[in-house]
Subunit: 327 residues, 2 copies
Amino acid sequence: MSEQDLAEKIKSGDRRALARGITLVESRREDHRLSAEKLLDLVMPRTGKSIRLGISGPPGVGKSTFIESFGQYLIDAGHKVAVLAIDPSSKISGGSILGDKTRMTELSRRKEAFIRPSPAGETLGGVARRTREALLLCEAAGFDVVIVETVGVGQSETAVAEMTDMFLLLLSPGGGDDLQGVKRGVMELADLLIVNKADGDLAAAAERTASDYAHALRLMHALHEDWQPSVVKCSALKGEGMAAVWDKVQAFRKATNKTGEFESRRRDQAKNGLWQEVSDGLLERLKSDPDLADRLAKLETKVAQRKASPAAAARSLLSSFFKGLGD
Amino acid sequence: MSEQDLAEKIKSGDRRALARGITLVESRREDHRLSAEKLLDLVMPRTGKSIRLGISGPPGVGKSTFIESFGQYLIDAGHKVAVLAIDPSSKISGGSILGDKTRMTELSRRKEAFIRPSPAGETLGGVARRTREALLLCEAAGFDVVIVETVGVGQSETAVAEMTDMFLLLLSPGGGDDLQGVKRGVMELADLLIVNKADGDLAAAAERTASDYAHALRLMHALHEDWQPSVVKCSALKGEGMAAVWDKVQAFRKATNKTGEFESRRRDQAKNGLWQEVSDGLLERLKSDPDLADRLAKLETKVAQRKASPAAAARSLLSSFFKGLGD
C-alpha cells in the first residue's frame, strides 16, 4: 500500500490502517523511516484536533483501571479515545505491560477506543519520538482524546509531559506516614492530582490524602498563568468521579486557550521536539563513529575520575569528530 | 604568566591568581579557551576537596544576607568559603546583582572568603560551564566550601543542582495563602529547606511555614536513598540558625558518603557535563552553518505551525548538515 493510500485510510478513521501506520513509525529500518515520514507529512494537516493527556502514578495506584473507567466515560459521552504508552524498559514492541489490552478489556472492545502498547526502543528519546508520531496519527484518525500513560521509569514522565497538553497524576489514599512513592520532580509536573480508590474503607483516607496534597500544592508556584493545579478524588473501580476529572480537563483547556497558552505550549513542544531530534541525531552520529569509540570511552572515564575537565574532553572529541568528517 | 605559573599560584591559595584564572575561563576568545583548558588540566588533581552547595530562593527571601551570615559562621569555624553565582540574565560579566560584593560587605572583607559575580553568557549552558570551571579553580585554591547561588531565571536552578552536591532552598515565612513564589520544579530539587527571617514578629509565621513545608516534603519520594529532605529555620539578620544549617549539610555528606552516593553523584555529574558540552558543541556547529541558517528558520516555523513533523524536519537538517561537512 502506498503512503497516500494508507494516509487516506487513516484519515477516514480506519483502525487497522492506524495500527499499520504506527507499526511503520516504530520501525527502525531506514526504508520504513522514509516511508513513515512521507505518511506523517500527508496527515499533518489533520493533526492537533485532540486533547492530549499524560497519565502517570506509582505502581499499584490503579492506572489501568482508571484509564478503562475514564475511557468508557468519555466514549459514552461521544468521544473517541486513543491510549498510548511510554515504557522505556520495554525491550520488544508489545512486550510492555502498559497499554496492554488484557488490562483494559472492556475498553479495548469498544470501536471508539484504540489501545496501543509502548513501542520498544533503546533510548527514551527514541521511544518518545515514536510515541509522538503515533499520537499524531491517532489525531489524524479522528481520536479527540489521546492518553499517553507511563509507568515512571527514568525520565519518562518528563517525556510524557513534553508531548501532552495536561499531566494527570494518580495517587493512592495513604496513611499518615506512607510515602506515596511519588517520584521527585513528578508532582510538580502535574496539572491535576487524582486520588483513586476513594471508596469503602479507604474513603476517609482518600479524603485526608486529597487534603494533604491540596495543601502542598498551595505551597508551590503555578506553572501556568491561568491554571492552579488541584486535587480530585475518584473510584475507578466503581466508575465514580470520572465526570469530575473531565470537568477539570475542560476547565484547563478553557483557561489555557483563553490566554493563548494552550497553543503556544504546543508550538514550543513541537520546536523543542525538533531540536531534541537534531541533538539526538548529532550525538548518535558522533557516538557511532568507529574512530572515536575508543577515545570516547577513555575520555568519559577520565572525566569521571576527575582527571580531565568536561569541557576540555568535549572539545577534544568534537575536534576529532569534525576533522574526521571533513576527510 | 604561563599556565603553569598561574596554576602554581592558584594551588598556593593566591586569591588574585584565582580571580585571574576565573577571568580566563570566562573568556570567549579561542586562545583564552585553550589556555583555560591547559590551566584546568594542571589543577584537576587538586579539585574535588570541597562541599559544593547550591542556594536559591524567591526574590526578597534574603539570599545575600544568608550567605553573608552563613559564610561568616563557616570562616569562624575554620573554613574557606567561595561564593559563585549563576545569573543567565547577566549580560556583562560583573553586571549581575548576584555574588555582588556590595551586598555581602562583611564577608567580602575576610581573606578566607572569595566572592565572584556571575559570568555573562548568551546561553545558560555557557554560563553553567564557566561557573563549573570557576568552581574547580576555587577548589584547587583550597576553598573547602563552595556556594553557587542563583536567582531562579529559567532553568538556572537545575543547572546549579547539577554542579553541586546539595541544594539549599531559602524560603520566607508566609501567611496561610501567600504563594511563596517557589518556582515549580525547584522545591523538588531541594535537599534542605531553610525558612529565613524566623525572628521577631515573623517567628510564629516561620514556625507554621516550616511545618507546612515539612508536611509537604513527606508527601514526596526521597531523591537520595539515605537522605530525606527536611526544614530548618534561621534568622540570617541575627546570625541565628547557621549551626543548624551546617549540621544538616554535614549530616547529608555523611549519609551520602556512607552509601557511596556522594561520589557516584559527582561522577555522574562530570559525565553528564561532558555529554552536555558535546551536545552543545554539536548543536552550535550546526546552527552556525551559513548554508543551513535559512532552512533552519523555515523548518522551525513549519514545525511550529504543524506543517512538518519534528522528526522529518530534523532528519532533513541533519542530512544537509553532514553532507555539507563531507564536502
